[in-house]
């Protein structure tokens, strides 16, 4: 088979070892390949070099405040769903030096001129790609364009993966984001036991895949993949009723449920850190003790931090009730007004990583029930 038969929209069958070579090609093209890797008994997204670094035969079991790794014994690399942290750490780094300033007579500024890394994201789920599209709307607006995000986003290569085995905390079907990819990737894998089905999503993806050895997929293989994806769609662990959500939440700011959930919430910020769409940041000075030089950094922040809403006259959100309410009414309410999309993709991370096991789908259902009662 020659590359002439490959076009955007083509689907081919790629032998699994070929993925190793594809990753090597990406690195030869100056991409840093980052993807899933088993570390400290969870799956993290980090620098990977090839198939050997991927979590082979590993499944994650997730529930509220519960995350365990299971061995499946299968020769699969993308069964786990989803990793503990999202991809936002690569486009929106948790800590980034903006500039440094030093006083030699007068204050001098020195910009951070480090070139942006070029990432190839390996194994992006449909909910995660939806989250990247949401962050695009936040960081790349007409009236504000974040240079740090933009420089990383523009050079991005996305190797997507369709989810076949949703976890108990997944609800992407409710949010309309998954489990199947539709667009926005360079290449998209569907993993079967023997082979990857690869769909071409861009010219860049086509040119990378063209270097590899692949076959036309048999009808049997395509059928198996389609059935697996249909099964995934039907086996979501959770659901969320999104009808009129912004209105429901923003017109019930005095619901009793806010009091109930605030007794469980620890305001620990875990949900906002693992959330693939949460975008709040702070800027802090790291000054030397003599006050002669300083480094200004952009760091992740969270609406659950007491300092987040501090003003001199007092804290505008002085308690956990007001902070949880802000988080949820923003994510599923005012976010829609601001960015014309909800701020939740249904990945379920906030459910898994909440130490108190607070479940966003349960909270929404409870408010809906309270309002309708």
């Amino acid at each position: 088979m020659t590359d002439k038969t490959l076009f955007i929209g083509s689907t081919v069958a790629l032998p699994k070892p070929e993925l190793d070579l594809l990753l090597a090609d990406l690195r030869k093209n100056d991409y840093q390949t980052v993807g899933p890797h088993m570390q400290d008994e969870s799956i993290v997204y980090t620098k990977i070099e090839g198939l050997k670094d991927l979590p082979r035969g590993i499944l994650s079991e997730q529930n509220p405040a519960f995350y365990r790794m299971l061995q499946t014994g299968k020769d699969r690399y993308f069964d786990f769903i989803p990793a503990n942290q999202s991809w936002k750490q690569f486009l929106f780094p948790p800590r980034h030096t903006l500039f440094s300033a030093s006083k030699e007579g007068k204050w001098q500024l020195k910009e951070n001129a480090e070139p942006a890394p070029r990432y190839a994201l390996i194994g992006v789920r449909a909910c995660e790609l939806a989250a990247i599209n949401i962050q695009d709307k936040i960081f790349l607006r007409e009236d504000f364009s974040d240079p740090i995000y933009r420089s990383r986003r523009e050079g991005l290569f996305i190797l997507a993966v369709n989810c076949l085995d949703p976890d108990a905390t997944c609800f992407c079907v409710s949010m309309g984001t998954g489990p199947r990819h539709t667009a926005g990737f360079d290449l998209c894998l569907t993993e079967l036991d023997e082979v990857f089905l690869v769909e071409v999503g861009s010219e860049l993806g086509r040119s990378m895949l063209a270097e590899r050895t692949y076959d036309l997929p048999s009808a049997f293989v395509q059928n198996a993949a389609n059935q697996a994806m249909d099964r995934a769609t039907r086996s979501m662990g959770r659901t969320m009723d999104t009808r009129d959500l912004p209105e429901l939440l923003t017109t019930h700011l005095d619901a009793d449920r806010w009091n109930v959930v605030s007794k469980r919430c620890l305001s620990c910020t875990n949900c906002t850190l693992v959330c693939p769409t949460c975008f709040c940041w702070d800027a802090v000075d790291q000054a030397d003790i003599l006050g002669k030089s300083t480094r200004r950094e952009r760091v992740w922040d969270s609406c659950f931090n007491p300092n987040y809403s501090f003003v001199v006259g007092g804290n505008t959100r002085p308690n956990i009730r007001s902070r949880y309410r802000q988080w949820l009414t923003h994510k599923l309410g005012t976010w829609k007004v601001q960015f014309d999309v909800l701020g939740c993709v249904g990945c379920g991370r906030c459910i898994t990583w909440c130490p108190a096991g607070i479940d966003i789908t349960e909270e929404v259902a409870a408010i809906r029930a309270e309002v309708n009662s």
């Binding site: 923003t250 940041w281 702070d282 800027a283 000075d285 922040d301």
Partner: protein
Amino acid sequence: MTTTLIDTAAHSAGHNDKLLLPHWAEIVKIIPEAEGVSTFHFRFTDPTVQNRYRFEPGQFNMLYVPGYGEAAISMSSDLETAGGLLVHTIRHIGNVTRATSRLKVGDVVGIRGPFGTSWPLEAIEGMDVVIACGGIGLPPLRGAIYRIIRNRARYGKITLLYGARMPKDLMFPAEYEAWQKADIDMQVTVDRGDDTWTGRVGVVPMWFYHFRVDPHKTAVLTCGPEIMMRFVIYEALARRIPSDQIYVSLERNMKCGQGACGHCQQGPYFICKDGPVFPFKALENIFNVEEY
């Protein structure tokens, strides 16, 4: 929603493609105003930046003290009155603003701006204007007062209601006479008088009991503690002043000034970008929600 009348990108002191990178500005003058409050006059060290910088009263800058961080501070004058200098009246109460209290003439700070919406000085031409402010809420309105005085004939009756905790906390007392001469009905009140105080004691919203307004042609501009503004709005609405003629300047924690970092959100708004000046009509559903 008020809109900024100028193209901020063309007149601002910030680098659009460089996040949070300020321009240095030198302190030209420092005027002590009251206990813990002083007014700083700044000039950008880069003449190009200085020459193109424009703003409208009500907007703010992010002031950066190296090693401490940034604080959002409103302009307390306008360029015409201040001879092209940037004027900020600062209450030295937070981490950054306390650091500014130790600065001297000749020192530099970083400045980014201007940000946010401005007082609707063109939209309210032809109307009576009630300016209701308390404490450090007067400085963000002083530029508007200067602008109104310069174009005095374009406005009807101007009433300035100003309250402070104590007589010694009153800002800009040396200017009151000039403002009165410009036909501004100036009403000053304090929460607590001292031995020499012969004026009013009480809170700002109560002044509404002392005059009649023509609601259809009256605009209210208010800035001050949120509790004061709440009652100013209440009194104004009670006199049937429409909610889109009442303009409120809100304060929230701000870090970026560009609606990006998330801190200043209240309801659907980023106060730094959609505000700080709002017509109350835009806030009706959120302003009185506790701890929102």
